[in-house]
Amino acid sequence: MSRKILLDKINVPGIKSYEVYRQNGGYASVEKALKTLTPDEVVEEVKKSGIRGRGGAGFPAGMKWSFIDKKSGKPRHLVCNADESEPGTFKDRYLMEYIPHLLIEGMIVSSFALGANLSYIYIRGEYMWVYKILERAINEAKAAGWLGKNILGTGYDLELHVHCGAGAYICGEETALIESLEGKRGNPRIKPPFPAVSGLWANPTVVNNVETISAVPWIVNNTGDEYAKIGVGRSTGTKLISASGHVKNQGVYEIELGLSVYEFMNSDEYLGGMSSNRPLKALVPGGSSVPILPADLIYKTANGEDRLMTYESLSDGGFATGSMLGSGGFIVYNDTACIVRNTWNFARFYHHESCGQCTPCREGTGWLEKVLHRIENGQGREEDIELLWSIQSKIEGNTICPLGDAASWPVAAAIRHFRDEFEYHVRFPEKIKNRDHFVAEPFSKVLMSKV
């Protein structure tokens, strides 16, 4: 059994409630931090832990914290990003739904470290029942004296609230999230200034993912050095992976970074292999935005090394032969999955979710969706594949926020690794009439008899 930091107590009966959580050592890190450490010492522990942002970008959390402007004297804020919307990702919901006090404990310690006295958890509007769970948990914590004025008699004040979004993927981008929290449309801001200098209501603000903040209590209790011992190299600690698609045991898993992709996929402790015993065709390892990997690049990197569940190993080979750990949204495809259809599905998602601010993304995502739709529906043209390549290359890097890149990468990777499948769609429109065309006729067979 591998080490658990976030989910070690998830199976304790009643851990959702304050009493049980407290009896199992909950809120100890608040006592330790507020009574024996200075805010800077907490930041130092988080820096030493090497924990990287678990929302997808993987930026070192301690470094992000150290950027917060403490000199201006303005009020500071911590905002937890619980706007989990990346297709394939459902890990934060699991934490918040089943052990809500862990996040609240993390918010208190992290807010203390940043010197924030008013903090928010921004949760996506669709998770309304989780919003209520958090709201109740906050009230319990407040009643027990962990929130409010003069916490534990240390003179530290903290107000914590949950705020709900209303259905916009883009609000997972930190500046769009801040706009949304200010009661506006979720249009990302141009950086700089970064939120650490001018964020919520122009105050210095740090935005962190649920999973990142939930790891802080352990780091404070056990020290950053201990956390850094878990994992491999610059990929320290544990990571929640949410697995879906054609595998036996879909669900949320906590893994030690450094576990091999092969073991994660096939061990009974984790995914237990492919469902219906069909062969593995492709993998999206870190949420829909990251490049898709074909079967031969999943367990081994291009230079023959074992592929590991780490930031470095999953991106080994760059976009040519690698992908990214991203948010840990692990989507597995078997040979019945049509890559063109899946790419069109993702493109529709990004078109729907583009905020419309930047022309390349607003227009380009629509083009990607339409061209992919016609290829998938048997009306593709030979030149469409080049057209797709050209569109994605013109979106990438040309937008205010990374949504443009996120829309481009899956298309580029699908063409890079599955070009013949696109060609097949264009050349044999009669074979793809049925929506489930690749269930009826596994692609591999037809491909081999290329005409």
Binding site: G125, H163, A243, S244, S288
Partner: protein, 176 residues
């Protein structure tokens, strides 16, 4: 362009106003606008799950902001409905992972069963069905959102049962 104004009876009850005031207390006194999204959710829930212009104007008045500031938000976020919808809205996730587990076939099944297309409402005003983008339940696919809750691991039998339960008034939509 024709701009249809649907009529809606507005009723800001005392309990709704209390909840709005509670939400307002979560933000600094001079940042009332920040409460806009949570307040719109509450107001929409209390008004048959949709927001007319008259209702949006009322929200603007309560938050002391301009009506346009409410309109631009309502039109941006997909969870706010700008016209009357069915009492029960089945919102099917139609993004990749759900499709790998048969979401499309299930949507067709529901559509056929209720005799309406995606995005439409039944004549009796009971059901609206729609396809929406990723709801963050990929490991429990196929699934849908119904009110404040998720219905997961769906199949045709479960859809039949849900429809029956809705008709028998057995479904709780909001957790208040």
């Amino acid at each position: 362009m024709e701009h249809k104004r649907y009529k809606q009876e507005i009723n800001i009850t005392e309990s709704l106003m209390n909840r709005i005031n509670e939400l307002l207390s979560h933000y600094p006194a001079d940042k009332k606008k920040s409460a806009l999204l949570p307040v719109l959710h509450e107001v929409q829930d209390a008004h048959d799950n949709w927001l007319s212009y008259d209702l949006m104007d009322k929200v603007a008045e309560i938050l002391e902001i301009l009506p346009i500031e409410v309109y631009e938000v309502v039109t941006f976020y997909t969870m706010f409905n700008q016209k009357p919808i069915g009492k029960y809205m089945f919102e099917f996730c139609q993004t990749s992972c759900c499709c790998l587990n048969g979401a499309e076939n299930l949507m067709d099944y529901t559509s056929e069963k209720l005799g309406i297309k995606m995005g439409e409402t039944t004549a009796d005003g009971m059901f609206t069905i729609a396809g929406v983008e990723c709801l963050g339940a990929c490991g429990y696919a196929p699934m849908m959102q119904l009110g404040d809750f998720y219905k997961e691991h769906l199949n045709e039998e479960k859809i039949d049962q849900l429809i029956e339960d809705c008709k028998a008034n057995k479904i709780i939509l909001h957790d208040k």
